[in-house]
Amino acid sequence: DAGVTQSPTHLIKTRGQQVTLRCSPKSGHDTVSWYQQALGQGPQFIFQYYEEEERQRGNFPDRFSGHQFPNYSSELNVNALLLGDSALYLCASSLVWDGYTFGSGTRLTVV
């Protein structure tokens, strides 16, 4: 039974560029959440998708957007990248209170 899969594992982008990160949830999970983890910090909630709609959103600017597909997989898009967007981006999938299963994350470096 596959867990949460994220791609790519590492990414280097230039300031001002746009990036797309991808997440495939654990089999049977229908909800996907995205978190940003800066170095030395705990993860911060970006947003959550359920039934292809954004259900909750954290305190992140509109440059951060997402999408969920009919197969429950999800994308996180970040436009106009800033140096401060450099972080580990974690995807977590869940099914009601089955609990949250995290992927290994995508390390984004903005130069």
Binding site: S33, Q48, F102, S104, R107
Partner: protein, 114 residues
Amino acid sequence: AQTVTQSQPEMSVQEAETVTLSCTYDTSESDYYLFWYKQPPSRQMILVIRQEAYKQQNATENRFSVNFQKAAKSFSLKISDSQLGDAAMYFCARVQGGSEKLVFGKGTKLTVNP
């Protein structure tokens, strides 16, 4: 803002000994869930243990147990018989009933000495 506080940035323990990691949280809700996650260098967040706020009994998972003090809003993690593989960052997190948003503390780095 409703926060989760881990007051110990770093802790160390000798192999086979016991260590306790502290966590306090702030919430105005009566229905919520608390978690401890482990994050090794592989970066993946691994669920260690979970506690429902409405349950008075402290959760236990093998060598891991919690001391949940609801009135004091305290949720500490005890690791017994520490093993080298327990070395990692440990994060305390809270989610409110009806919400699926996790709020994390800043983490505690645990070192296990042989």
